[in-house]
């Protein structure tokens, strides 16, 4: 009985473990410390975006603009690094821009009553346009100043053998977990997603919370943009295209309800890992690119269906 309960509660985790067992049976090079670090590093970008997305989805919203914010933040950051801006100044400016772009979406949602889907769809389009204008459609290099080397470490460096992006994603996870589970803000996020009217009558400042969650999502997308730019030592105008879909997939794979009010940040982390392991496995096993898409879609479908069935039998 206890085992069954645990299983129903943790379908995403079990799915991840099964996937990893299957892949390691199929390919010997999968099971190595190096490859695991490699998967974690590749997953860290999507995981960071998806954790911000989790906040928004918990309030029954959605944020389609993360991919564009990532590209914009990356471009701004690359040009600042390329102009020899002190590292911390560049980083905080970039994060602030991401948060501001997110807060703008949140304000449109709160004050004009626009559906989050529409508000962030508009954001996605306009910000992508801004990226193309800003970059003139060309990649921006981080340049050859001393600061560029330090900046590269954010994407390509290691601390005690662990890739820095993984460490950043870990810290983000801990902070998000704490906020959602141990602060008033977290409770308010869940309450708004559970029933906005109830939350309002309970004295929750619904507008402020909504703006904050979109700002968090924007800031984390910008953080992902920073890491991506650092890894490539340049910002791509097309960076982050369709990243919102991977992030939403990770959130949903993690068992969070798109209706809001229900879900866990740990689930999102696992969801991101499932996608990361899958990408890695398909490459390692040299699966033809035509089959890859079918396989990815199939796994996501399977996981979501299993999770739904687990929930309804409760």
């Amino acid at each position: 009985m206890k085992i069954k309960e645990f299983a129903l509660e943790n379908i995403p985790l079990i799915g991840l473990v099964i996937l990893m067992i299957l892949v390691s049976l199929a390919s010997p090079s999968f099971l190595s410390v190096d490859n695991f670090l490699n998967i974690l590093r590749q997953t860290s970008i999507n995981a960071i975006i998806a954790m911000g997305m989790t906040f928004v989805i918990l309030t029954a919203g959605i944020d389609l603009s993360v991919g564009s914010i990532l590209a914009f933040a990356g471009a701004v950051c690359a040009s600042m690094i390329g102009a020899d801006t002190p590292l911390l100044v560049a980083l905080f400016t970039t994060l602030a821009i991401g948060a501001a772009l997110g807060a703008a979406s949140g304000s449109i949602v709160s004050f004009f009553g626009v559906q989050p889907f529409i508000a962030t769809l508009v954001g996605m389009t306009m910000i992508r346009g801004a990226v193309l204008v800003y970059t003139d459609g060309r990649p921006i290099s981080t340049g050859d100043f001393e600061v560029a080397n330090a900046f590269y470490e954010l994407g390509g460096g290691y601390v005690a053998g662990i890739p820095i992006p993984v460490i950043i994603a870990g810290v983000v996870f801990l902070v998000c977990w704490y906020v959602l589970n141990h602060t008033r803000m977290g409770r308010h996020v869940y309450a708004i997603g559970g029933n906005e009217q109830v939350a309002k009558l309970a004295g929750v400042n619904v507008s402020a919370v909504k703006i904050t969650v979109f700002a968090i999502s924007g800031a984390l997308a910008a953080l992902a943009g920073i890491i991506l730019t650092a890894r490539l030592e340049s910002a791509q105008p097309t960076a982050g295209l369709a990243y919102e879909l991977d992030a939403i997939a990770a959130v949903v794979l993690g068992g969070t309800s798109l209706m809001g009010g229900r879900g866990r940040i740990t689930g999102t982390l696992i969801g991101a890992l499932i996608i990361g392991v899958l990408n890695n496995a398909l490459n390692i096993m040299d699966v033809s690119s035509y089959f890859q898409m079918i396989a990815k879609g199939g796994v996501i479908l399977l996981a979501v269906v299993l999770d739904r069935r687990g929930k309804t039998t409760e």
């Binding site: 190096d34 490699n38 990649p139 290099s141 490539l232 030592e233 390692i284 040299d286 035509y290």
Partner: protein, 293 residues
């Protein structure tokens, strides 16, 4: 009042058509976009050659929008032109534009990107298959006919992906000592090139060379290879500024560059031959160029 207006419009049209009744030496060039340096170079090549051969050249920019493209073609067909060269925004969407030219009996030459329907006298483009072979030949030479090779493919199903892959594999197969150990897509994207290469590096302890079907993927792969501290030669495709810089720096072995200017000039030469009644081949390949240090 209405009548007056109609009269005015009619006069304007009449005057317009007479003043723009151009001689038989005018060529039109409809370009998919002039926001991209590649097509600007293409245009410049065509302009130079047109001047040389004594043609007037009308250039229109479709701004990557098939609707704008159709409008451009309709406009230009109203201006008595001898021949239309078109660089389509999309091989399928260009169909009605080409039909319009066919109806007016204006010969059409497509540049760089082909058309899937409609009557086209000749198609002028870089030979992607040949480019792939050039990359393959270079890899063969560098490895002395022996080694392990990775291929990074473009967007699945795109014609560039098919042609470049076909040429490369054709060339590589001639050397029995070379095996392609992984062939994965990275969607012509730099980030994906990095991620996919990292994964392949995990799976393959021995890699001697990488052929990426465009420079973006090649630049991503180079980051992965540098981070893994492995010694692998990388060949890209397109000859973008970043890639040429990487070749100069030595981190990339070579890039196979299209010669945009020559696509434009060969296009005008082909037009010239058509107008002089000579027979031209259905497809004129424009040679590519391997850029090395």
């Amino acid at each position: 009042m209405k009548k007056l207006l109609r009269l005015a419009v009619a006069t304007a049209v009449l005057v317009g058509s007479t003043t723009s009744a151009l001689a038989n030496d005018t060529l039109a060039l409809v370009v998919s976009t002039l926001n991209n340096p590649f097509f600007v170079t293409l245009k410049e090549g065509a302009e130079a050659k047109a001047g040389e051969l004594g043609y007037k050249l009308l250039v229109l920019d479709s701004q990557n929008d098939p609707a704008k493209e159709l409008a451009n073609v309709e406009d230009v067909l109203n201006k008595k032109i001898a021949l239309m060269m078109i660089n389509p925004t999309d091989s399928d969407a260009v169909r009605s534009a080409i039909r319009a030219a066919n109806r007016k009996k204006v010969p059409v030459v497509t540049l760089d990107r082909g058309a899937n329907s409609g009557k086209v006298v000749s198609h002028v483009a870089s030979d992607n298959v040949q480019g792939g072979m050039m990359a393959g030949d270079l890899v063969k030479k560098m490895l002395n006919g022996k080694g392990k090779v990775v291929e990074l493919q473009g967007v699945p199903g795109a014609s560039a992906t098919r042609d470049r892959g076909e040429g490369f594999n054709k060339s590589i197969k001639e050397a029995t000592g070379i095996t392609v150990v992984a062939s994965q897509t990275a969607d012509f994207d730099r980030t994906k090139g990095l991620n996919v290469m990292e994964n392949i590096l995990q799976a393959q302890p021995e890699i001697d060379a990488v052929f990426a079907q465009n420079d973006e993927m090649a630049l991503g792969a180079i980051k992965a290879i540098q981070a893994a501290k492995r010694d692998i030669i990388v060949v890209g495709f397109d000859g973008t500024d970043d890639a040429v810089a990487a070749v100069k720096k030595g981190s990339m072995l070579a890039t196979v560059a299209q010669q945009a200017g020559r696509i434009g000039s060969i296009g005008v030469e082909t037009a010239d031959m058509i107008l002089k009644g000579k027979t031209v081949p259905k497809y004129t390949p424009v040679p590519l160029q391997v850029i090395t240090k």
